[in-house]
Each structure stands twice: as structure tokens, then as C-alpha cells.
Amino acid sequence: MSAENAKHIHGYMAEFTSVDALLAACRRVRDAGYTKTDAYTPFPVHGIDEALGIKPTALPWIALGGGLTGTITAISMQIWMNGINYPYIISGKPYISLPAFIPVTFELTILLASFGAFFGMLILNKLPRFSNPLFTNSRFDGATDDKFFLYIAADDPRFKADGVKRLLTDAGGGAIDAVMDDESSDKLPRAFVTIAGVLAMLSIVPLLIAARMRVTNSSSPRFHIFYDMDFSPAKDAQKSTTLFADGRAMRTDVPGTVIHSGSEFGPDYYSGIDVDALAKIDPARAERLVRFNGQLPQDGEPTGNPPVTPPADEPVTPPADEPVTPPADEPVTPPADEPVTPPADEPVTPPADEPVTPPADEPVTPPADEPVTPPADEPVTPPADEPVAATAETPAAPAVVDTTPWLTENPLEVTRATLEKGQTQFNIYCAVCHGQNGRGRGLVNERAQKIQATSWVPPSSMHQPQLYDDKYPDGKLFSTISNGIRKMPGYSSQIKAADRWAIVAYVRALQLSQNASEEDVPLSARDAIVPAP
């Protein structure tokens, strides 16, 4: 301390023993015009900032700026994401829906305002800082206990060693010491640097491994972190198990199971098939329909039901017919695989979208994407059932054009209410793929086409002649809605039977609407027709 070399002096500090003495000294120093000053106390002292003449902090503005940044970022991010870049209807709200954006906006505003306040405070205080020249003075330790210090820095424009010392003495400060610059090296210890460097390099290794994994193939199984999500003990449909004696993972209905509220209408109503007529042709299948008492045996036209039909019929089938049948429900895809089938022995040719198809020898395994279990009593599943139950008719249909005696009339009374019900249900369940006008241009289809989804089978248009009621009876349409066809799943679990029939009625109305003539319009309403330009 004695060898006071002006250029090494960092400033002067004075010790005080009470808050009041410190505050009085602070005011004197402030009034003398010093600005590079600071006070150190063991606890916060009210009014010391004012006594030292410290200007109001800019921190509130930083916090405000952070908050506004959060608000603007959150709102524009959400508008961009959900309104512009990937417009997606969520919960029926508009793309840009302010109330839905507010929680995120609120959170981000708070977060960035807090960040602004916290990091702004650190930066304004020049923190974190590991050392301070004051620490070289052992007397300064009292600042954490019972002493108060006032400090005037040497870089203050008014700083003159003698003047400062005199001022501090006059202000009542005891033990006025020069604070010397810390002469010790400010370099980090070598060991610290080395360890940090090694750790930094090691931390790259996982990234490199991950990067390599992304560009290489491996035959070993994936690395599982959470086993429970990857290996569920639950069985998928159509898989076998050792748990049950019969090896089936899925249980069949207990014999005699009755559909809820299913007894009020006969099996015709739930299957779309004239069961009496069926009994004459195929007693086994009819018996099964009846035994379930109206419950649609899950696969309306029991999967491979007439084990006899396909093989027996096929040779008979005049190839000429074939091309006609498939388009019946599928304008685009099927022709490719179907016409090919018959000549060879059908079992060999599974449709493209059927992954698992060694039909003949695998009784238990119908298509993987077929959610419905075939009736238990169906021992042999002939190939015919590959593309979802309903299709069974189509390929097998050929000459026979489907022996099933479908109901040709809608069992519901077709009233305005029925049609409106059908319209509502159609627009809810069908229109997403088939489009509201039934032309097969629903939103899901449009999107699948846009992204060129490879597994996508375009939905049928309702307006192809093959789907008119002379070729495709109401009962069959009902069965298709209930059980699905190709990629289309069955809707029997989602839509009540009455509503499915209402949809059938509405589809007929849709078809009629595309072929109507002026005579179809009631006289009273004809005046309203505006001739096409």
C-alpha cells in the first residue's frame, strides 16, 4: 500500500460503521460531482441509489422490449404456421384464430420479459464477474458482515488522489485505503483449459454418432430407450397368441350375442341382404346372419363365405365380364390386378395393397388393414376376401354378378327428413374423401394427391354408372358403407344403421341430381330454374 504508484491505483475506499454515516458520505461525494462511485453494504439500504446519484436503470425498457418481442414473435409465428404455411383446421376454428393464440402469446411474452430482466440485469451489472480489485483488501471482507464501504474509482474524471482522500476523511470515513489493481494473472489455469477443451471435444462424439446413424444403414434393431412404447404386450388384430388355446389373439363374439337395440329390425336391415332369399342359395351364410340376430356378421358378406363360389365360378366366368366388374366401385386402381387373376388360380394374385396374402394356407389371416374379424366359424378363408370384405363380391362376382340377393329397396321411408339426415351424415363421414358432391374429390383425397401418397387409393366417384342402383343395389351400397371396401374402413361402428340407410338414400339423390331432367322438377318449382348460359 505504501508504494502508491498512480497508474496501479484502481480507486479509494473508505470504511463506515453505520448506514447513516455511509448515506451522509454518499451525498457529500455525489454533491462533490463524482460519478464513478459505488457503495458496498451487507444488506440492501433504502435510498442509497438516490444518495449516490445513480441514474434510473434502463432495465425496465429491456424487460419491456423482451415482452414485446415475445408478443410479436408468438403471434406472427402462430399466424405463419397455422394460417399461412400449413393451413389446418383445428377444432373447427378459423386458421387465424386469435383466442386460440393467446395462451402461447402470453407465455412467450412472460418468458422473454423475464429473460430481458434477468439477462439485462446481468449485462448491466457486468456479471458474471469472478473477481474485483476490492477483494485484494482484506478489510473489505467486512462488507459481508458489519461494515459499510464507499468507493471512488480512479477513472472518475474528477479523480485526484489527494482530493479524494481528503473528501473521504471529511465525510467521516475511517481506514481510507487505496485499492490497487490486481497484479495476479487473469489467465485461466492451464488444467482448467485442458479439461474444458477435452470435454468440449468429447461432447461432439454423440453428435457425430447421431449424424453417422442418419446416413448409414444398419441391420441391428433400433436402440430402444423407452421399452414400453416399442414393445406393447397388446396384440394387433389377426395376430396369433399362445395365451388362448385356439391361438387367436382376438376373441370372437360369444354365440348368441345380440347387437344393442338390434332386435327391433330383422337381419335384412342390418346386412342389406334379403336373408330369406339367401337361405335358398346359401343356407350356411343365411343361417349365420340369422344366428347373429340381425347383427351384421362383422363382414357383411361373410368374408370368403361361399367357399365354393370363387374357385367354382371362376372357370365359368367369361373373361368378357371381368373388365366390367372391377370398375364397379373402383374407377382407377383395381383393373390392374383383378382381370389378371382369374385365369391363373386366383390364390396367387393378391391385390397390390394387400401385404399378407398367402390366402389358401392362412385361414386366420385376412388383410391386415381389415379391422373386422371374420366369424369364428369360417374355417377356410378363400382368397376372395383379400381386399376388404366387400370387395369379395366384386372380383368373385364376375358372371354371377354377385349371387347375394341384396335388398333393392331402402327399408327406410325416404322422406325429406331422411334425406337431410343422410346429407348431414354424408357430409360428416363421407365427404372428407368422396367430396360433398360425391365426385371423389374430398379434402383428404386432394391432400393425398398433392403429396402423392403412395399408398393412397382414390375414393370412388358416386356418379359412375356402375354405382347406380341397377348395378349396385341399395343393400350392397349399405353393406359397403358398413364394412368398407379397399382402403375405405367400415363405418358400422360409427354410424347407426338407420343413418347408414339414410346415407344410401342421400347418395341416390346425389346420383339423381347429376342426371335430372326438367321433368323431375315439381311443376311448382320449375319457374325457379334458370337455364344454363
Binding site: P44, H46, G47, P60, L64, S91, G92, K93, P99, A100, I102, P103
Partner: protein
């Protein structure tokens, strides 16, 4: 820093004391005139009672907010607020008066069918038979049970208000520290009772106007508006008292700063609660919940709804954002008065669209009814507060923590 309760600067200024009885009498006259206009003209008794309920809930939420303010100061042993606690206690002391003013609402149940509350009308229940039969509200919303519950709520508040006021007054005489400890011990259970009773009162008295509607957050919503406007009312009161020459030494800019922080915080809290209630209902979009907001988005009410967003939240939020505003008593007086007006709009918006869905204001006579009821109720309540202030110093002068509050300093 000892204070003497007899100090003249701690007494209600004479100019204010003179107003007490004129305000009470004028308030009663205006209230009676308001209800009468509704009852005999085309406005209708239902509208008049709705206006009365609006005015009543407006004053009640403020006085209950003040009650909660007092309880919470004791609960957390607050030091800063001692100099202004007596003002909150004076607002609290009007609660027993308001308990009596609830009687007309109660009487309306026995007046006729569904005069104010739809569930009281057999025709309404007949028309909504199916909804009514499938939930248990029918058992809850009956005349006598409603009356019993109202008595319980009003009883709880009267007991709490009287207890805290009397005990604090006793301390003015005796300066016993034990009384402070006793009030702190009571404040824990008191705050629980207060929360439950206020929640159920909000369900009973406002939410059940629309018997089929329900929102579990409704009680908190009423509470948020109440505590917010109670702090505003105390701010306005203390500002006017200082104008009149009282409390000039004791209440400093530091206390205004704290009022500002609390008001700012509770504006945000009110908005948070109001928006949370709205968001869940809006998002789920279930008709049995959304119709309540539907009524407030038709017939011109949508402008009131939007006004709440912009003028009950956004404007005062921005206005009170700055520390410089919060440390200027005049600006604080302005914002506190402003929010007291917006609180009335809030209560009006809660009650009147149900009572009078078709017409936002009810025509000239309707406006007259509303204004008479509102100013009558405010006059009566302020008169009650001033009357109680005449006998009590404006400062709990012998509170053991008074010195903390006098020396209080924000960092």
C-alpha cells in the same frame, strides 16, 4: 413516530363528515325512485330488479374486496399497509348495511314467478323440463334454500367484518399486541370461509340468473373484480382524504406506488380469469355453455364485451405499466376512478344481458332506472362508510406495526 388516535389530522375532515347523512337519505330516495320507475312504467319490475342487483353487486363486491384486503393483511402480517388498513376496514364496515340491502332481492323470490330468477318460474321450468330434470340444480335452486344460503353468506361476512373492525378499534384504545396476534389467528380460517361464501354467492346471485349455465370459475371472476376495485376505492378514498387535509404525513408516495402495483397485478389477474373462462367455453364450443357468451355477443352487447377487453384490461394495463405513473398520486387517483367505472360496466355486463337480452340499455327510462339504482346504492354505501368514519380515527394508531408502515420505502 408514535401516533395519537385523537390527532385531528387522523379524523374525517368535517367537509366529508357533513355528507354522511345526506348521502344515506339521498341514496335511499334514489334507490326507491329507481325501483319504482321500473315497477310502474314500461321498463318493468324485472328490469328494475336487475338494475338493483347490478348496483347492489357493484357495491358489495367492493366492500367484500376490502374485507378480503383486511384479512389478507393480517394473514401475511403485512407491515407496509398499516397506515391505509383502516380505510379498508371502513369500507368493510359497510358490509352489514349491504346485508340489509339484499332483502329486496330476496323478496323478489316471493313476489311472483320468476320476477328476477328464471328458475323461480314454473313456466320456465316447464319449458326447460328436460334439461332441468337431468341435472340436480332443481334441488339446489329453490326459494327457501336460496334464502337460507343467502343468510349464511351474509352472516359470515357480517361476522367477519364486525369482528375485524371491532378488534381493530379496540386496539386503538388498548394498544394490545395480543389483539394483532388474535386477528392473525382468525384470518386463516376467515379467508377460507370468505372464499367459499363468495364463490357460492356468485353462483347463487349472478350465475343462477341463467339457470342452465355453469362455470366453476365464476366465483373467482367475481372475486378478481372485487379485490381490484376495492384497492381502487381505497386509493380514491385516501387521495380525497389527503385533499381534505387528513393523513398527509402518514400515507406517502410509497403507498401509492404499492397501490399501483396491486392494481396493475389485479387487472392482469382479472383478465387472466376472464379469459380463461372464455377460452375453455369458446374452445369446447358446447352449446350448453356457449349460449351465455352468445347472449353477450348480440343486440349490441358485443360492443360492451369488446369494451371490457380494451378498456377494462388493455388501456389501464398500458396506463399503469410505468413506475412513474404509479408514483404520482394524481395519476393513481385518475386510474383508480377509471377502473371503478369499468368495474360497474363489468357487473352490468354480467347481469343485464340476461335480465334484458333484447335491448342493451332499456331505453331512456331504463337508463334512468339503472342510474338511479346505481347512484342510490353508491350514495348509501359511501354514506355508511362516512358515518362509520366519524367515530373512528383514519389510522389504526396503536397498531404494533405502524412504524413499519410509516417508514415504508419501495426499493
Amino acid at each position: 413516530m408514535k401516533k395519537n388516535p385523537e390527532d385531528p389530522t387522523l379524523q374525517l375532515p368535517a367537509s366529508a363528515a357533513r355528507l354522511a347523512y345526506p348521502l344515506i337519505v339521498g341514496g335511499i330516495v334514489m334507490l326507491a325512485a329507481g325501483v319504482l320507475i321500473g315497477a310502474v312504467t314500461s321498463v318493468g319490475l324485472r328490469f328494475a330488479l336487475g338494475s338493483y342487483l347490478t348496483a347492489f353487486m357493484y357495491c358489495l363486491t367492493i366492500c367484500l374486496g376490502a374485507t378480503f384486503f383486511v384479512i389478507i393483511q393480517h394473514l401475511c402480517r403485512a407491515g407496509w399497509s398499516v397506515t391505509i388498513r383502516r380505510l379498508a376496514e371502513l369500507f368493510m364496515s359497510a358490509v352489514p348495511w349491504l346485508a340489509i340491502l339484499f332483502l329486496p332481492i330476496l323478496a323478489s323470490l316471493f313476489l311472483g314467478n320468476g320476477t328476477l330468477y328464471n328458475w323461480d318460474s314454473p313456466e320456465w321450468i316447464e319449458a326447460n323440463h328436460r334439461e332441468w330434470a337431468t341435472n340436480s340444480k332443481g334441488a339446489f335452486l329453490t326459494d327457501w334454500f336460496f334464502a337460507v344460503r343467502a343468510c349464511i353468506y351474509l352472516g359470515i361476512w357480517t361476522v367477519l367484518a364486525t369482528y375485524f373492525f371491532k378488534t381493530s378499534r379496540r386496539q386503538d384504545e388498548t394498544a394490545e399486541i395480543r389483539l394483532t396476534e388474535q386477528m392473525q389467528a382468525v384470518s386463516g380460517p376467515a379467508v377460507i370461509l370468505f372464499a367459499l361464501s363468495l364463490t357460492f354467492a356468485a353462483f347463487d346471485w349472478i350465475m343462477s340468473l341463467e339457470p342452465a349455465w355453469f362455470s366453476t370459475m365464476f366465483g373467482v371472476y367475481i372475486f378478481a373484480g372485487g379485490i381490484l376495485s376495492a384497492i381502487c376505492a381505497i386509493t380514491v378514498f385516501v387521495y380525497l382524504l389527503q385533499k381534505g387535509g387528513a393523513l398527509r404525513q402518514e400515507v406517502t408516495v410509497e403507498h401509492y406506488h404499492d397501490f399501483g402495483k396491486l392494481i396493475f397485478g389485479f387487472i392482469t389477474f382479472w383478465t387472466y380469469i376472464a379469459f380463461s373462462q372464455f377460452l375453455l367455453i369458446w374452445y369446447a364450443n358446447i352449446p350448453e355453455e356457449t349460449f351465455w357468451f352468445g347472449h353477450r355477443w348480440a343486440h349490441g352487447w358485443q360492443f360492451v364485451s369488446l369494451a371490457l377487453v380494451f378498456f377494462h384490461w388493455l388501456l389501464p394495463f398500458l396506463g399503469l405499466l410505468s413506475r412513474h405513473v404509479r408514483r404520482r398520486p394524481t395519476l393513481m387517483f385518475f386510474w383508480a376512478s377509471y377502473i371503478l367505472v369499468m368495474h360497474f360496466v363489468d357487473i352490468y355486463w354480467l347481469i343485464m344481458p340476461t335480465v334484458n337480452p333484447g335491448n342493451a340499455l332499456g331505453g331512456a327510462l331504463g337508463i334512468a332506472t339503472t342510474l338511479l339504482c346505481t347512484f342510490g346504492m353508491i350514495g348509501l354505501s359511501v354514506g355508511a362508510v362516512l358515518r362509520n368514519s366519524q367515530n373512528a380515527p383514519l389510522l389504526p394508531a396503536r397498531d404494533p406495526r405502524l412504524h413499519e408502515s410509516l417508514a415504508f420505502h419501495n426499493l
